[in-house]
């Protein structure tokens, strides 16, 4: 199955004179599930923010190539525009809507511009009914203490963030440390679901993660980033054996 790709060309981003991202040419999404790893401060999160247009690059071009063969230059699109195109990101730091219950939060995600009109106050139950099964599937799949209430723990908020993104039926999903704050068995079920989505729905996934075991386990291809630059890329086996990766990650003395 064809994947959705993102191509970065000559992308630079600096904060106050310090170059955080400096990438000449990088294609993401050539494989269904890819990993992006690198030591702290490598620019992984900034790179994701640049791709989803939360931040603007100082220079360069970002191309979005969905599986249908289209080719869109998203360098100057807005965050919400690229999200509507199917390019979505889960958050590293816990994000939630305090006043929305879990169900309302998911309904918000599922709602379309058609329903999001200030004069559309009738027949709104139709939306809720048509998506009930979908919501129930996720609320059954993941253990929420009170599925009809608010997300309570950090873990529940993290899961909710991931489900909200899946509700958008994205074509390309960026996951920024999806397992941080989740217990091991939940990490496993999140990843099992992701692998299923990649196979069944043709979803392309890019995972940023410090848990390298998880990267070796689920990723088909890995990009290694350090000091804002793409150092190397390859299959998990190749990256694992790479001397430079180990040095950059843990320091020369530890190797």
């Amino acid at each position: 199955m064809a994947t959705t790709k993102i191509v970065l060309k000559n992308i630079r981003k600096s904060f106050g004179g310090r170059t955080v991202v400096d990438i000449d040419n990088l294609t993401l999404g050539a494989h269904p599930i890819e990993g992006l790893i690198g030591p702290n401060g490598a620019g992984k999160t900034t790179l994701m923010s640049l791709i989803t247009r939360k931040l603007s690059a100082d220079q360069g071009q970002i191309l979005y190539l969905p599986a249908n063969g289209a080719k869109v230059d998203i360098t100057h699109n807005s965050l919400d525009e690229v999200a509507r195109m199917g390019l979505v990101r889960t958050n590293q730091i816990i994000q939630d809507f305090e006043s929305l219950t879990i169900r309302d939060s998911l309904l918000l995600s599922l709602s379309t511009p058609h329903f999001d009109k200030f004069y559309r106050i009738f027949g709104t139950q139709k939306l809720a009914q048509s998506v009930n099964d979908e919501i129930d599937f996720y609320l059954d799949y993941f253990p929420f203490e009170n599925p009809n209430g608010h997300a309570l723990s950090a873990g529940e908020k993290k899961l909710l963030d991931i489900i909200r993104c899946l509700m958008l039926k994205p074509k390309f999903l960026l996951m920024d440390e999806p397992t941080a704050g989740l217990p091991y068995d939940l990490t496993q079920s999140v990843m099992a679901l992701m692998q299923k989505k990649a196979v069944e729905d043709g979803l392309t996934i890019l995972i940023v993660e410090h848990d390298l075991d998880l990267i070796w386990e689920v990723c088909d291809f890995v990009h290694f980033l350090a000091e804002g630059q793409l150092m190397t890329q390859g299959t998990p086996e190749e990256i694992r054996k790479n001397q430079m990766v180990a040095e950059k990650y843990m320091g020369v003395s530890h190797v």
Partner: protein, 289 residues
């Protein structure tokens, strides 16, 4: 009786304004500190169009409301994506500009001398003011019913999401800037419409009517009643304007030399109530459901 109806009509308008502020601030988080500007523009606009240009009441009301909406659109486009402090200052400045324009542009508004009169759009004899009050009540009830329905609708969830975490909502593909602008324009235009409908109740307008006190009263009422509750504004207006203007000033026998102090004491008591509410019940009398 005429006095009672006059005050009560004002209370109904206050309730409608508090309801609109509930939509702007309670749901969306837009801190509009220029309520009186939008309301006053609608009221003065209607009166000027009727008195100076001899337009029929309905045409004047529609034009004045549209003018308010257009200015809200421009103001909103300029400031809505800034932080809360900037929005407070900008909207407060807007209402101050309206106040000074009304005071200084004598050729249009007759300045401090005052402009009038606007009569009721219909005449059913002695009880015209009462029929008009009934109309205002129905109108306000419909707008509150709208708020209630909106909170269960997808758009209501979107507004709450914008208030809670706008970047997250944008990440979910919601065009939050555009929706804030549309909603601010619609609700501020409605404030203008409430002002326009208020014109015949006041009949004769002077700039003192559109001082910042109106904004503060609406804000205090909404916070007292509960900013997140549909009925918050209603309850809040009754315990502030209703309690003082309607009950105490009308029915409590106060000594004559004391009565001139009442408006000042009233504001002090509003302030005291506000402090107590914020200390013991930050979400207002009705809470957040």
């Amino acid at each position: 009786m005429a006095y009672f109806i006059f005050v009560f009509s004002g209370i109904i308008i206050y309730i409608a304004l508090a309801n609109l502020l509930h939509l702007q601030f309670g749901l969306t988080g837009i801190v509009n500190f220029g309520v009186v500007g939008f309301w006053g523009l609608g009221m003065y606009g209607t009166t000027v169009l009727i008195v100076q240009y001899d337009l029929p009441f309905l045409v004047a009301v529609v034009l004045a409301s549209l003018l308010t909406a257009v200015l809200s659109l421009i103001l909103g486009w300029l400031v809505l994506d800034l932080d809360s402090q900037s929005i407070i200052v900008a909207t407060l400045a807007f209402s101050t500009i309206i106040f000074y324009l009304v005071t200084t542009e004598k050729w249009l508004t007759k300045g401090v001398v005052g402009i009038g009169t606007v009569s009721f759009p219909f005449d059913v004899g002695r009880r015209t003011d009462l029929v008009y009050l009934a109309f205002l009540m129905i109108f306000t009830a419909v707008s509150m019913w709208y708020s209630w329905k909106l909170k269960q609708a997808p758009y209501g969830r979107l507004l709450l999401a914008i208030q809670d975490n706008e970047p997250l909502a944008r990440g979910l593909g919601k065009a939050t800037s555009r929706e804030k602008l549309i909603f601010f324009t619609a609700t501020s235009g409605m404030m203008g419409l409430m002002g326009a409908l208020h014109a015949p109740v006041n009949q004769f307008l002077t700039p003192t009517l559109i001082g910042p006190g109106v904004t503060f009263t609406v804000w205090i009422a909404l916070i007292l009643g509960g900013k997140k509750h549909v009925l918050g504004g209603l309850i809040g207006v009754f315990v502030t304007v209703g309690l003082f203007d309607l009950l105490i000033e009308t029915y409590v026998p106060l000594p004559t030399n004391f009565t001139i102090l009442v408006p000042n004491i009233k504001l002090m008591l509003y302030g005291l109530m506000l402090i107590l509410i914020l200390m013991f019940r930050p979400l207002g009398i009705l809470g957040d459901r």
